[in-house]
Symmetry: C2
Subunit: 255 residues, 2 copies
DNA sequence: GCAGGTGCCGTACGTCGTACCGGCCGCCGG
DNA sequence: CCGGCGGCCGGTACGACGTACGGCACCTGC
């Protein structure tokens, strides 16, 4: 496989897939498969067992179908993942916006965090170029709408959203790492640390890195391991929102 | 390969590798290989051609050595990448801190951005648990030291650093995507967009997603494609620093 | 001079994505 | 009513990948 991406030759093919341009076959008892069925199954696998468990053979198997049959509907794995991502965006809530901008933006951040918690594989899959599917468009539009009127330029509004979503993704990634480390090693975060700590001390010259040691253990103590990422998310989110407030207030004053 | 990570059984082995616990062989003309030579070559490959091009066969070849010889020094690919990461941290500058905390923190952010620009593969490799090597420790200690005295608790100081580094990584990732999209498709970001845009318009109902369209094109126009990520980095960094200022000022006032 | 160990590596296995091609079956034009 | 055709399905096979295993060559310490 090497990369998740290849020449990807044909934008038309990929986009058509994302936007489901395909007349349903006129066949009486339609085909056994469909892009939607494939995507649904693939998302289930990735949710339950991670991106690494998502192989084309596995998808075929889960559908009770030969591996290669999947390729009738999907040009390749990269494209499948792209559709999975867009589909996941599609299931996000988009309630009518309410409250002040900060409340709205905070809400958006939490919704995105929840998305990543439900579908942790997105954190590993999204490394590549955004997907440009219909649901991403809808999401982007929805989220922008919540903050277009805060008195910043369009470009700044875009940057604000990028900043917040970037923070969410970072925090989600950190949290996700803890989770799948636990799954893969069978140890909790705390146990993992305890098994590594003695070895570390062997190598560390005593008294080296005093600041790191003090702060590190302080951080470790405070939030009992699993709570760490959550704290980082909350703290960071408030800082980011504070920072945005500063510009927003500046602009309001200069008007 | 499936995952970059496996059971990883033995923490001792991995840590010993990171910290280079190994007496140099007494052999007259020392062995042809060494962990350092391997790591250096591997970093060169990853820098030049990306993580996907980094295969064990390729590393052996670049060293003029059989594939399996590499395994004499390194337990597996995951561990090799871990050492590569720690090594990269080791080459970061750590000048004496100067200026106020904001200046120092900004400096740290820019140094980290530069690191990721020099070694974009780190953005894809670091998905996994932090590496706990000596250079990461030194880096963590150095960066913390620059901000321990800003009047926040240890836990908050840690969260501040996490926030800033998280932003840097997000921005670097966005920038890196643009770069390697260009390498892989041979098109600039602008060209790519132009080749996809007409197809997109085919699918989009005219008038749908007005906000997204307006803001999206505004953002696209303003910064000529390649400049987009850079703007996002700068804007976000200032917002983050502003946000941190707010708490710092609060604490200073309450003292 | 010899035994043991260290560094090296050829071969082979299991996994992956997927190209290719051949068989199947329901529909439609004659 | 029937013959062919087009969409669907999937078996086989290829070329990557990481790496387990076992053997070979040479140096070193006795």
């Amino acid at each position: 496989m090497a990369s998740e991406r290849k020449a990807t030759a044909d934008p038309a093919r990929s986009l058509a897939l994302l936007w489901r341009t395909r007349e349903p076959t006129s066949r009486s008892a339609g085909p056994a498969l469909s892009v939607d069925r494939i995507v649904r199954v693939a998302i289930d696998i990735a949710d339950a067992e991670g991106l690494d468990a998502l192989t084309m053979r596995r998808v075929g198997e889960a559908l009770g179908v030969g591996t290669m049959s999947v390729y009738t509907y999907v040009p390749g794995k990269a494209e499948l993942v792209a559709v999975m991502i867009d589909t996941a965006y599609g299931e996000m809530p988009r309630p009518a916006v309410e409250g002040d901008w900060r409340t709205r933006l905070e809400r958006i951040a939490r919704d995105n965090l929840a998305l990543y918690q439900r579908h942790p594989w997105m954190l590993r899959a999204e490394t590549t170029r955004p997907v440009l599917g219909p649901h991403l468009m809808a999401k982007y539009d929805y989220e922008l709408s919540a903050i277009v009127d805060i008195g910043l330029t369009d470009v700044e509004v875009d940057a604000v959203l990028t900043l917040v979503l970037g923070h969410v993704k970072s925090a989600a990634r950190a949290a996700s790492e803890v989770v799948d480390l636990e799954r893969e090693t069978g140890m909790t975060d705390g146990q993992w640390w305890q098994s590594h700590a003695p070895w570390l001390e062997t190598f560390l010259k005593p008294g080296a890195y005093p600041t790191a040691s003090r702060v590190g253990t302080a951080a470790g103590q405070q939030h009992g391991a699993a709570y760490g990422p959550e704290y980082a998310f909350e703290f960071g989110l408030q800082r980011v929102l504070d920072g945005i407030s500063v510009v927003v207030a500046e602009r309001a004053a200069n008007r």
